[in-house]
């Protein structure tokens, strides 16, 4: 049953990696027949991991784990108790021992039994001694708890699934875009277009990005301010791999982009006079130095006709309106197209004489895309993961071992036989038995 469920979940998981999911599905469905796309959508094939097809086997798997563990536990419990108090009739365990596991001592049986009991006590938590008239039996045992390892593993998997459920029920997963200088207190929930209002306001003071020499991105960073009732509560940067948590809500750097517009830095010079600098946004007006003439930025283009940043300026004077474009890389354009700027009046930055305009640069306004999450299930999943590893250690690397020593009087001395039993790792048991034999001999002197 477990295997069947694992196979079903596996097949659905594979399907989910082949069929585009969620956002990616929107583009994919565009290429499909609408009726087919609708059927596939209704079958939840574009959100497999949250579909009933996926959730039902997961519930069944959880139930399966609970029931299997429940049914098996009493047996393990009995085994555990039996292991702690092993039965006295071990005669069979001492049959056909290899010669190296049988030793002879000149000392008396009682003396030997005390010595060996102390030796066992050093290594094994529980040591028992039993005298039947004919022989003395010593037994040492460790790792009896290892039969519970499998329950730790199953319980951990259930805890992890529980953590996921908690996260899905009580948490949320959202996204917000904030322009530099702007702020927001609502976020858009993923997998739908519904909005969620936060208990506080986030402001993006600045977004900055940095590149390596080879052009690969080096860092994306948003400087955020968190406000409550218009009071600043916390300020801090958010970078990829370094989210910020505020009131249990985590903010991740996920995306960025530039806003249309931004601000242009332009220089205006009258004849051979001193140049003045203006920082203006689209639609803003400025006075030309030493006159009543006003300039106005009509458009700001990041890349006009593929030849770089440009602004369109309108000059209003007593004679009427004049319009022209000012390019940032004017020298390069002049070199490539000699005479173009003089011929096309619209491209001549010296059209309004005696003023000469130049564009220093355009300062783009960025917006930052933040992923906004709240997942109260995380500590539960983390705890489950910790116990899962613990359970693996017990299941795979601990074994229940019992060591048995039988002492019999023989020809004025003692005959010592050593044997043992283990529920797994028989190679390890042999090694441990060999060590015990060696220690028994060494103490013999």
């Amino acid at each position: 049953m477990t295997i069947v469920l694992l196979i079903v979940i596996t097949i659905l998981s594979i399907l989910g990696t082949v069929v585009p999911q969620k956002e990616a599905a929107r583009e994919f469905t565009g290429h499909l027949d609408p009726a087919l796309a609708f059927v596939l959508y209704k079958l939840q094939l574009f959100n497999i991991y949250h579909s009933v097809w996926f959730i039902i086997p997961m519930i069944l798997l959880s139930l399966n784990l609970i029931i299997c563990s429940w049914n098996r536990f009493p047996t393990s419990w009995r085994l555990f108790h039996k292991a702690l108090f092993p039965p006295p009739a071990w005669s069979r365990a001492f049959e056909n021992l290899p010669p190296h596991r049988v030793l002879f001592s000149k000392r008396e049986t009682t003396e030997e039994s005390v010595r060996l009991e102390n030796l066992l006590k050093k290594k094994y938590r529980r040591v028992q001694r039993e005298d039947t008239g004919k022989a003395t039996y010593l037994s040492g045992c460790k790792g009896a708890f290892s039969c519970f390892g499998v329950y730790i593993v199953h319980l951990s998997v259930l805890i992890i699934i529980g953590g996921v459920v908690i996260g899905n029920l009580l948490g949320f997963d959202a996204y917000v875009e904030i322009v530099e200088g702007g702020s927001s207190d609502t976020v858009r929930l993923q997998g739908g277009d519904s909005l969620k209002k936060l208990d506080f306001t986030v402001r993006c003071d600045r977004f900055s990005l940095d590149f390596y020499d080879n052009g690969a991105p080096k860092s994306y960073r948003s400087d955020l301010t968190f406000l409550k009732n218009n009071r600043v509560v916390y300020k801090g940067p958010v970078l990829v791999n370094h989210p910020v948590t505020f009131e249990g809500v985590r903010f991740y750097q996920a995306n960025y982009g530039t806003m249309p517009g931004g601000e242009a830095i332009i220089m205006v010079r009258k004849g051979n006079g001193k140049a003045s600098m203006f920082r203006v946004g689209a639609g803003a007006e400025f006075k030309l130095p030493g006159s009543d003439v006003t300039g106005k930025i009509l458009r700001i283009e990041e890349n006009l006709m593929g030849i770089g940043p440009a602004v369109k300026i309108n000059i209003r004077s007593a004679e009427g309106d004049i319009q022209f474009w000012v390019f940032q890389y004017i020298e390069a354009i002049r070199e490539k197209n000699p005479g173009l700027l003089e011929k096309v009046l619209l491209f001549n930055p010296g059209r309004f004489e005696p003023y000469l305009f130049s564009l220093e640069r355009i300062e783009s306004r960025y917006y930052t895309g933040l992923q906004v999450n709240r997942d109260p299930g995380v500590p539960v999943v983390a705890a489950g993961s910790f116990f899962l590893i613990l359970g693996f250690m017990v299941v795979f690397f601990c074994s229940h071992r019992q060591m048995w020593i039988k002492l019999e009087s023989e020809r004025g001395g003692t005959r010592i036989s050593i044997t043992g039993k283990s529920n797994k790792d028989h190679v390890g048991l042999q090694r441990e038995l060999l060590r015990l034999v060696r220690e028994a001999i060494r103490e013999e002197g």
């Binding site: 998981s13 690969a216 080096k218 860092s219 791999n241 989210p243 590893i389």
Partner: protein, 283 residues
């Protein structure tokens, strides 16, 4: 770059080691076996040196980071972990027959990394998503798991081959010597179980370190990214291998076949997933 030149040699050293392990199996002469182990060890040490040099070179370029950040570096590291694990197993079991089956994996991954024109062997700076302390622990645990599964797959092949011993048709003396050199079936099965356990624990740790990293980088510990999903599928397969062994006593031939299927899934998780769209695009 010096490191890529040295890594180019390592490819040939591993090929030599593989050839010597084969000679050892068909001639049963101790000399070839010793030479094979020696060559393998030299290869591993040279490769370790090259990895350290690459690490240092990255600091000279001003973009210092552990050499675990792109497909080239991961292939090299995969091959390194396979050889490391193999030599440990050889040392513990005192048996060289596994070498002829495992070393070819290390050789092939090295050759793919060094010779494929699609693979960029330059040291690249870390993009923001990779700038995390979790990179090293995630990559090391994952590839320890992958390496264990590669060894387990080799053991699976050995088991199936050994199963042919004594059947009609392999009259050639070389074939029978070769098959005789492979350890008995029970030994292979027990060793394979232990290696699968090792791989399973490391894969689990790899998925967990990945989840912690994703929690810091992508906003959720689990996002059903194809690589995540396939690592889970691989985890299910090996969980099934262990479960059927414990509960139904599936051993031997079945275990060998499942070990091979498991490794196919590992390879898809590692390389095949790159053909599906997802977040793990850098590896």
């Amino acid at each position: 770059m010096l490191n890529t030149t040295i890594l180019g040699w390592v490819t040939f050293i591993y090929f030599g080691s593989f050839a010597f392990y084969l000679f050892n199996m068909v001639t049963v002469r101790e000399f070839w076996g010793r030479l094979a182990s020696f060559t393998a060890l030299i290869g591993l040490l040279t490769q370790t040196a090259a990895l350290i040099i690459r690490w240092i070179e990255s600091y000279h370029l001003g973009i210092g980071h552990a050499p675990l950040s792109n497909l080239y570096e991961s292939l090299i590291f995969f091959s390194w972990t396979i050889m490391l694990l193999y030599l440990i197993v050889e040392w513990r079991t005192k048996n060289r027959s596994l070498g002829a089956f495992v070393v070819p994996f290390a050789f092939l991954f090295m050759a793919y990394a060094s010779l494929s024109p699609d693979i960029n062997n330059r040291i690249q700076p870390l993009v923001p998503a990779l700038q995390s302390n979790w990179l090293t622990s995630h990559v090391i645990t994952c590839f320890m798991g992958y390496a264990a599964f590669a060894v387990s797959c080799a053991l699976g092949f050995m088991y199936l081959l050994k199963g042919l011993e004594g059947s009609t048709g392999n009259s050639s003396i070389y074939v029978s010597t070769f098959l005789k050199f492979i350890p008995p079936l029970e030994v292979l099965d027990e060793l394979n179980y232990q290696i699968v356990v090792l791989g399973f624990v490391f894969l689990t740790l790899g998925i967990m370190t990945g989840a912690v990293w994703a929690h810091y980088a992508w906003g959720s510990y689990w996002g059903w990214d194809p690589k995540e999903t396939w690592s889970l599928i691989t985890w299910f397969i090996y969980a099934a291998v262990l479960h059927t062994r414990f509960m139904r006593g599936w051993r031997g031939r079945r275990m060998a076949i499942m070990a091979i299927i498991g490794f196919v899934s590992v390879l898809f998780t590692y390389l095949g997933v790159n053909y599906l769209p997802g977040l793990h695009s850098y590896l």
